[in-house]
C-alpha cells in the first residue's frame, strides 16, 4: 500500500455550543493550535466533556469550527463535507453496516470511488489479512464478536488509504483484556502502514501504550502536549500529574539552586530535585512523586507513619502520612523486603531524577 499520509494542522480552532440548560454559549473547544506530523500517532486524551471528540469530529467534518481553519496537508478543509475529506474514522460503536457482510462493508468506500472490481477484491482481501480477518468475508456483522467487529471497522477505514485515520474511543466497548491486545494491534498496523492516526480516548494507559504524542485536553483547551514519557515524568500541573497515573504532591519551599538541582525544604528536611527551570529561594513549590518512585525503609529522607499496608501481588501498597500529607507508595517485589505494618514509623526517600518540581 502506498503511503498517502498527511499531516493535520489546527489553526486557532474554537467551537461554541449552547448549553441546553442555561441557554448560554460556552466554548467546547477553545483556541486550539496543533500540528500533527505525517505518519505520527497522536492521542487526544482527557476527561469527558474536555472537547476531544468535538475536535476529532471537526477534523472529520461532522462539526464546523466557529473560529479558525483546519488543514489537511496543505489544504484548508473547512468548507469540505465529510465525504470530500481525505479522512476515515473508526467509531466507538464500530458502526458497521448491518445489512452488508464483512466483504461488502470493507468494499463500501472503494465502490464509492469506482475502483475496478478485481482491484477491490485484491485490496479488500489484503487489508482483511492485515487485520487478521481473512476467511470471514461472507460473515454478516452480527455473527462477529466485538473484537472482530472492530477489526472490520478498522479495515473498512484503512482500505480507502486515507490521509488521516481517526479513532473515536474505538476500544471502549471491548472488555479489558481485549482492549489491551487490540491497542497493540492498532499500533502495529499503524506503524506497518506509516499512516497518520488521531486517536481519542479517556483511558490514560491506552494513550500511553499507543501514542507518539499525547495531547491532554481540559475544558476545551490543550493542557499539555508531549511524548508519553515527558507527560508522565514532567507534568505541567497538578491536574495532569493526577490524570496520568497516580501522583503524590509534597509541599515545600525552595532553599537554593545547585546548577540544575533544586534544594527544597519539606517539613524541615532537605530534598533535592532535578529541574530545568531556575527557582528563587523562598518560593513555594510542590514535588510530584510517582508511587513507584518512592522507597520506604528504616532510614531515609522524610519520616512517616504507615496508615495502610496491603499486599497486591506484584507490589506492596502503602499509604503513609508525611506531616499532613497522605503519600501513596507502590513498593515492587515485596517478597525480599521488610514489610511495614499499620502504625509503624518509617522513612521515605526518592532519587532526584525521579521527582518533578511544580
Amino acid at each position: 500500500m502506498q503511503n498517502n499520509s498527511k499531516g493535520v494542522t489546527l489553526d486557532h480552532i474554537s467551537k461554541i455550543y449552547k448549553d441546553p440548560k442555561t441557554g448560554k454559549d460556552f466554548y467546547a473547544v477553545n483556541d486550539v493550535c496543533l500540528t500533527i506530523e505525517p505518519g505520527s500517532f497522536v492521542t487526544l486524551l482527557g476527561p469527558s466533556g474536555c472537547g476531544k471528540t468535538t475536535t476529532l469530529r471537526m477534523i472529520a467534518g461532522f462539526e464546523s469550527p466557529d473560529v479558525g481553519e483546519i488543514y489537511l496537508g496543505d489544504e484548508a478543509i473547512n468548507e469540505l463535507t465529510p465525504n470530500k475529506r481525505d479522512t476515515a474514522m473508526v467509531f466507538q460503536s464500530y458502526a458497521l453496516f448491518p445489512h452488508y457482510n464483512v466483504f461488502d462493508n470493507v468494499a463500501y468506500g472503494l465502490r464509492l470511488r469506482k475502483v475496478p472490481k478485481d482491484e477491490i477484491d485484491r485490496r479488500v482481501r489484503s487489508i482483511l489479512s492485515l487485520v487478521e480477518m481473512e476467511g470471514m468475508e461472507s460473515r454478516m456483522t452480527n455473527q462477529l464478536s466485538g473484537g472482530q467487529q472492530q477489526r472490520v471497522a478498522l479495515a473498512r477505514a484503512l482500505v480507502v488509504e486515507p490521509g488521516v485515520l481517526l479513532f473515536d474511543e474505538p476500544l471502549s466497548n471491548l472488555d479489558a483484556k481485549l482492549r489491551v491486545s487490540m491497542r497493540t494491534e492498532i499500533r502495529r498496523i499503524q506503524q506497518t502502514l506509516g499512516i497518520t492516526a488521531i486517536y481519542v480516548t479517556h483511558d490514560q494507559s491506552e494513550a500511553m501504550a499507543i501514542s507518539d504524542q499525547i495531547i491532554i485536553m481540559k475544558k476545551g483547551v490543550i493542557a499539555q502536549m508531549g511524548s508519553p514519557m515527558e507527560i508522565y515524568y514532567h507534568p505541567s500541573d497538578e491536574f495532569i500529574a493526577d490524570f496520568i497515573g497516580e501522583a503524590n504532591f509534597l509541599k515545600g519551599t525552595v532553599k537554593r539552586m545547585d546548577g540544575s538541582e533544586c534544594v527544597v525544604d519539606v517539613l524541615g528536611h532537605e530534598c533535592t530535585v532535578e529541574t530545568d527551570t531556575a527557582r528563587n529561594a523562598g518560593q513555594e513549590c510542590e514535588i510530584v512523586l510517582r508511587p513507584e518512585a518512592i522507597r520506604i525503609a528504616q532510614q531515609g529522607l522524610l519520616p512517616c507513619t504507615v496508615e495502610l499496608s496491603c499486599f497486591m501481588g506484584s507490589y506492596q501498597n502503602y499509604h503513609v502520612r508525611v506531616g499532613d500529607t497522605l503519600v501513596k507508595i507502590s513498593d515492587s517485589c515485596p517478597i525480599n523486603k521488610p514489610i511495614f505494618a499499620v502504625g509503624e514509623q518509617a522513612y521515605i526517600s526518592f532519587e532526584k531524577e525521579c521527582a518533578h518540581l511544580l
Binding site: E63, S64, P65, S93, A95
Partner: protein, 571 residues
C-alpha cells in the same frame, strides 16, 4: 458573534451537497403548498370580506343554530367516544398484560381485534350496525322482533366510534403497561395491598398521563370522523358533516371555510395538548423497561369475568365485520335471507369496475410517493441538522391534526381558482393528481412517525461512517438508511395504500364525476338505502385491504432486514 463562522460553514457544506439541498427545497415547497397554504386560505377567507379584515362571516356562522348544535354535538360525541374507547382499551390492555388467559383462541381474538381498525374502511361498522340493529336489523327485527328500533343518532355514532377507535387505545395502553416494572406492583403487594388497591394506587396513577393521551387521541379521531356521522348520524350533525353539507348543499363556501377554521382550531388545540403536554409526561412516568416477566393473574375470580367480558366484545366486533359480506350475499336484508350474487352483479353492471380501478390506481400512485417522502422527512428530522428542520417536522405532524373535511374545504378554496385565485395551477383542481396529493398529505404523518421511530433505533455513526467514507447524502440514504428501514418503508407503502383506498372525508369534497371511488360509492349507495350494494363494495374493499396487509407481512418476513437487525441489536 463568533458563532457566525460555523453557521456559514454548515451552510456552505449544505450547498456543497446539492442532493440534500434540492430535497429540502422540494419538501419545503410541497409542505407549504399542500398543507400550510390551503389552511392559510381558509383562515384568511373566514376573517376577510372584500379585502378587509372582518369577523362578519364568523358572526353569521355563529348565528346559525345548525352550527351551534353541530359544535356542541361534536364535543359531546368526542367526549363520549374518548371516554368509552379509553375504558374499553384499558380493559383489553389490562387483560392482555396482566391476566393469564389459558385459551389460545381468546388470545387470537385479541390479535384480530387489534388489527381490525387498520384493515377496516372507516364506515364499515356503521354499515353493519345498521344491518344488525337498524329498522330491518338482523338482531333487532328478526331475532327480537323490534320493528321500530332507531339506531340513527348520537348513541349509534358513539357505539360505532367506540368500537372503531378502542383498538387504538388498546395498542397504546398495552405498550405502556408493558413498560411498567412489575417489581413496583410486587412491592406494593408485598406491603399488604390487595390487587384492587395495587391497581388503583400504583398501576393507574402511573398510567394516568398515558390514559389522558389515549383519551385525547380518540377525541381527535372522533371529532375529525366524517363517514360514521354521515352514515348513521341521522339528524345528529357534527361539525364535519355540517361543513360537508354547507359546501354541497348550501353552496356557502365562505361559511364552510369559517366552520372549517373552528373545527381545525378544535383539533389543533387538542393535538397540541396531546403532543406537547401529555406525551412528554407519559414518557416521564414510564421510563424503565420491565426488568422481567410479570406474574400473570391466575385467580379465577378475576380471570374469568375479565376474559369473558373481553371475549364477548371481541366476538361482537368480529360479528359486525362478518355481517358485511353476508349483507352483500343475502337477497334482501331483513326480509329474504337467501343467498344471491345479485348485489355484486348490480355493482359491476353500474361502473363498479371503474370505481375499483380508479381507487386502486390512485392509491397505488400515492403509496410509493408517500412512503419515500415520509422516509426522507424522517431521515432529515432524525439525522440531519439544518435551519428549516423544525418547520418540516412541525408541518408534517400538523397534518395529523387536520381533519380530512377541513383539508378538503381548504383545497377547494385554495386550488379551485388557482393559487391565490390567480389561475396558476388551476389545472390541478378536479384532476386525479389532486386526489393523489390529498392521499399523500393524509398519510404522510403516519409514515413519518413510523419512519422516525425506526430511524431513532439506528446508531447515528452508521450513517456518519458511510458519509465519512465518501458517500454523499443521496448515496448514504439509498445505500445505508433505506435498506435499514426497509420494513418501515414497506409498511408505510401499505399503510398509505390502505388509508388512501379507504379514505373518504377529504376526497368526497374534491372528487369529480370523472373519477369514481369505492368509498364514495359505498356512501352513495348506503344513503340511497341500497345496503346490499354498499356491502358488496365494502366486502371487496376489505378483501383488497386484507390482501395487501398479508402481502406486506409476507414480504417483510422473507425479504425484510428486521430479522438480521434484531439479532445484531441483541449483542
Amino acid at each position: 458573534m463568533v458563532k457566525a463562522q460555523s453557521a456559514r460553514l454548515d451552510r456552505k457544506k449544505l450547498f456543497g451537497d446539492p442532493i440534500m439541498l434540492s430535497t429540502i427545497i422540494v419538501l419545503l415547497i410541497f409542505l407549504a403548498l399542500f398543507i400550510l397554504y390551503p389552511l392559510a386560505v381558509l383562515l384568511v377567507e373566514s376573517v376577510s370580506r372584500d379585502g378587509h379584515f372582518s369577523l362578519e362571516i364568523f358572526r353569521q356562522v355563529l348565528d346559525l343554530g345548525r352550527f351551534r348544535t353541530a359544535f356542541s354535538n361534536t364535543l359531546l360525541l368526542g367526549f363520549i367516544t374518548g371516554v368509552g374507547s379509553t375504558i374499553l382499551g384499558l380493559l383489553f390492555a389490562y387483560v392482555d398484560c396482566y391476566v393469564n388467559i389459558h385459551t389460545k383462541a381468546v388470545k387470537k381474538l385479541f390479535d384480530v381485534v387489534s388489527m381490525l381498525p387498520v384493515v377496516s374502511p372507516p364506515f364499515v361498522l356503521s354499515l353493519s350496525m345498521i344491518l344488525l340493529f337498524g329498522r330491518s336489523g338482523l338482531i333487532t327485527r328478526s331475532l327480537l322482533g323490534i320493528y321500530d328500533n332507531n339506531i340513527y343518532g348520537l348513541h349509534g355514532i358513539a357505539i360505532v366510534q367506540i368500537l372503531t377507535f378502542f383498538p387504538v387505545c388498546y395498542m397504546m395502553l398495552k405498550g405502556l403497561l408493558k413498560n411498567i416494572d412489575p417489581s413496583l406492583e410486587e412491592a406494593s403487594r408485598d406491603m399488604g395491598a390487595s390487587r384492587w388497591k395495587v391497581f388503583t394506587t400504583v398501576t393507574l396513577p402511573l398510567m394516568l398521563p398515558g390514559i389522558g393521551n389515549a383519551f385525547l387521541v380518540t377525541f381527535i379521531e372522533s371529532v375529525a370522523d366524517f363517514a360514521n356521522p354521515m352514515m348513521i348520524g341521522g339528524s345528529f350533525d357534527t361539525l364535519a358533516t355540517t361543513i360537508y353539507l354547507q359546501v354541497t348543499g348550501a353552496y356557502d363556501k365562505a361559511g364552510a371555510s369559517a366552520m372549517a377554521v373552528v373545527l381545525l382550531s378544535l383539533t389543533l388545540i387538542l393535538f397540541l395538548i396531546q403532543k406537547y403536554y401529555l406525551e412528554k409526561r407519559t414518557y416521564a412516568t414510564l421510563t424503565g423497561k420491565a426488568s422481567r416477566a410479570r406474574m400473570l393473574i391466575n385467580d379465577k375470580s378475576v380471570r374469568l369475568p375479565l376474559s369473558i367480558l373481553c371475549a364477548a366484545f371481541s366476538i361482537f366486533v368480529v360479528l359486525m365485520y362478518i355481517s358485511i359480506p353476508f349483507g352483500a350475499l343475502f337477497k334482501l336484508w331483513g326480509r329474504d335471507y337467501s343467498l344471491s350474487f345479485k348485489h355484486f352483479e348490480y355493482m359491476f353492471k353500474y361502473s363498479g369496475l371503474k370505481a375499483f380501478r380508479d381507487s386502486f390506481v390512485l392509491s397505488l400512485i400515492a403509496s410509493p410517493i408517500t412512503a419515500l417522502l415520509s422516509m426522507i422527512i424522517s431521515y432529515l428530522v432524525v439525522k440531519k441538522n439544518f435551519k428549516s428542520k423544525g418547520f418540516i417536522e412541525f408541518v408534517s405532524m400538523l397534518a395529523m391534526a387536520v381533519p380530512g373535511t377541513v383539508l378538503g374545504v381548504g383545497y377547494i378554496r385554495g386550488f379551485a381558482n388557482g393559487i391565490f385565485g390567480s389561475g396558476v395551477m388551476q389545472g390541478l383542481y378536479g384532476t386525479g393528481a389532486i386526489l393523489v396529493i390529498v392521499f399523500i398529505v393524509r398519510s404522510l404523518p403516519v409514515g413519518t412517525r413510523s419512519g422516525i421511530s425506526a430511524l431513532r433505533q439506528i446508531d447515528k455513526s452508521i450513517e456518519e461512517s458511510a458519509y465519512d467514507l465518501g458517500a454523499n447524502s443521496g448515496k448514504v440514504f439509498t445505500s445505508i438508511t433505506l435498506p435499514l428501514i426497509k420494513d418501515s418503508f414497506l409498511s408505510g407503502l401499505v399503510t398509505t395504500f390502505v388509508r388512501s383506498i379507504t379514505a373518504i372525508s377529504a376526497i368526497i369534497l374534491l372528487v369529480t364525476p370523472q373519477f369514481l371511488l369505492i368509498t364514495c360509492q359505498i356512501n352513495e349507495f348506503a344513503e340511497k338505502g341500497k345496503y346490499g350494494v354498499a356491502c358488496a363494495y365494502a366486502t371487496i374493499l376489505i378483501a383488497i385491504v386484507y390482501a395487501s396487509i398479508l402481502l406486506m407481512n409476507f414480504v417483510i418476513k422473507h425479504f425484510g432486514t428486521s430479522k438480521a437487525l434484531k439479532e445484531s441489536q441483541k449483542d
